[in-house]
Symmetry: C2
């Protein structure tokens, strides 16, 4: 298989935006092309990751819409949807187009416009990523789904919510250093505990926000990467896996098998293991999700991820910094953009361009993008290149 | 690039079904695997083409849902959406996974469940494939969009609706021979002219129906194709292209540039031209669309496609049989399934298994799947194999 690299990366600020869906996608796409030093004529294909524009903004068929707004000339354009993993799924789809030798330059954009929808309605739309027939139709929305997972984890391992507090405080602390983050203000344990209960045991500060935003990368093959302005940041490994949508169809709900399998595939392809990873951008849609992720990815043993968060091992100066960007929790979660944004942040970190949030000595960055409660997971591993 | 082949093909009957979305997808997927002589354990990846399950049935994240219902074991699963070309886009995505060497066996399923939605609401949902800001928001739904194209064509070339009548009568006549077709009853010119006006000049019988249905193919590479029960039917060429969503952004509306470009790419890859094609399954969402398609694909000169239809050149015994299946018009148009269904029909014809609708001497079959009013087009060319 050809070796694939990122030669351009950019994102909009995540959060409540005055910009429309197409304006956000165009902003990120143009900035990524500018970063790569190319104009629209060099792009051979567009892959767009987006979760539910049909319900959020009454617009499907968004891939050719964004392609034409970007001035891409009749290129093949494809939208991928895999719930909150729509973005990383778009990246995987773009990687295959290059690996196949079909295209040399693929622009991948992830985008979502959510804040123009009333919050209750947005929560209902998000619930369409759960199993409608057995979960969402009965009112089980995602805060409830992850609350069930949190309760099961706390019961199984005898933990309390201190671990959740630690994840929230760390996330917001990291967001302070990220100009793209929705929340750039530090919070305390008291803030987390004092915030409104959403679905016991999850409070408001345990939940990622509703956000607008877009992120984009320019993908190419290593064999042509010297034609671009920026050095290629290589994909050393990637893996994707699926599972049943509904929680009740899983053997246990304190881990996510799709994440374990996807990461094992990515590690095997890269020829490295969890101990080699310098930083990880993981899918912390809720605080409990980050704790489970750090176990699924092999950074900590099952049942110990919460304690690791409390002890500071996942902080920016810890043994394995998790979500130096602030993560979905503080950076924001414009669904289709989130997975692409994880890769953008990883590229910035690997280039040493992450400014106030730069982690020292980043050699390998891992991204972990989850759809729903774990029915989709995509893991990628990027390296520094030459 | 590896040579890709179809080793399994199947579909449900299209039309109003008692089966749910997931039941339809599972039926088509299981039948395709059975046709290939494999069980679920052999499938390495699922690609699902579906237009708007989030609005039709409140269910997004449908790829892992269908994967798990089919018993596929944690395989990567990806949904593609490109309006009414979501199905062929899924096929393209699956082809890339094989061409890249990432997977050897990919199951592609196209599916839509539309009839549980009231007809007016379904038309609104379909309009989300047009440009919401400049078309759909103002009430321009797809019958209106294609009516504008029909009026422009009739004005530019001095034609009347006789050409539309000819397409409708042929489609329903072909549907009589297709057990998978929604409509299996012949109609007359008088029936077409006497049917309710939908959007002048298009009457009810100029429009494809609202349908439920699913279609599936098993894709593999020629280098491993001898492991399956059925001989591989090769993809000799394929092409995909995009354009602006809104009609007013096009230079003219009596042809579809994305279809011209996609077909030129497919012809070039296959090393053949329009004169070599034995049959074509084209995207006749409205009668005018088939006439324009036969010109865009190079079968007839611009402005002569209507006369060709009237003279019988596109009939089952004509010089280039168009839509021997009955097409979207009579076979039905369960949006995400339609593009995959075109390939299923082509496989049946190339194998000589199309029974009552079999065309003699089929060596090359072309499929043409369009999204919206032409913002997406995917063209594939299949051959007989060895």
């Amino acid at each position: 298989m050809r070796e694939m690299v990122v030669v351009g990366a950019a994102e909009t600020k995540f959060g409540r935006s005055e910009s429309s869906y197409r304006e956000l996608a165009v902003e990120a796409g143009r900035k990524a092309m500018a970063d790569a030093g190319i104009d629209a004529g060099r792009v051979e294909s567009l892959v767009l990751g987006s979760f539910s524009p049909g319900t959020f903004i009454n617009q499907e068929h968004v891939a050719p819409l964004v392609a034409s707004e970007l001035g891409l000339d009749h290129v093949p354009s494809t939208r991928t949807e895999n719930a909150c993993a729509s973005g990383a799924t778009a990246v995987m789809t773009g990687l295959m187009q290059i690996a196949a030798g079909m295209h040399d330059v693929v622009l991948v954009v992830g985008v979502e416009k959510m804040t123009s929808t009333p919050i209750g309605e947005a929560t209902s739309i998000l619930a369409e990523a759960a199993d409608w027939e057995s979960e969402a139709k009965a009112g089980l929305t995602f805060p409830g789904v992850y609350a069930l997972m949190a309760r099961a984890y706390m019961h199984q391992y005898g933990k309390d919510r201190s671990m959740l507090d630690a994840v929230a405080v760390k996330a917001h602390g990291n967001g302070v250093g990220n100009p793209y983050a929705q929340f750039q203000k530090a919070i305390t344990v008291e803030d987390v505990r004092g915030s409104m209960m959403i679905a016991d045991p999850l409070n408001l500060y345990d939940c990622s926000p509703i956000s607008d935003g877009a992120a984009a990368i320019v993908l190419t093959a290593k064999d042509v990467a010297d034609q671009f302005a920026r050095p290629g940041i290589p994909f050393l490994g990637f893996g994707q896996a699926s599972d049943a949508l509904a929680l009740h169809e899983r053997d246990n709900i304190t881990s996510i098998p799709a994440a374990q399998i996807a990461s094992q595939r990515a590690y095997k392809m890269a020829g490295i293991g969890p101990d080699d990873i310098s930083i990880a951008e993981v899918h912390d849609c809720f605080t409990i999700a980050e704790i489970v992720a750090t176990e699924d990815l092999g950074f900590f043993e099952p049942g110990t991820g919460g304690d690791a968060a409390i002890s500071g091992k996942t902080g920016r100066d810890g043994t394995i910094p998790i979500n130096p960007s602030g993560g979905l929790k503080a950076k924001g979660h414009p669904v289709g953009a989130s997975g692409v944004g994880q890769i953008v942040e990883s590229v910035f970190q690997l280039r040493g361009e992450a400014e106030g949030r730069q982690v020292d000595g980043v050699n390998y960055a891992l991204t972990h993008n989850v759809g729903g409660s774990g029915a989709t997971c995509v893991v990628t591993i990027l390296g520094r290149g030459e």
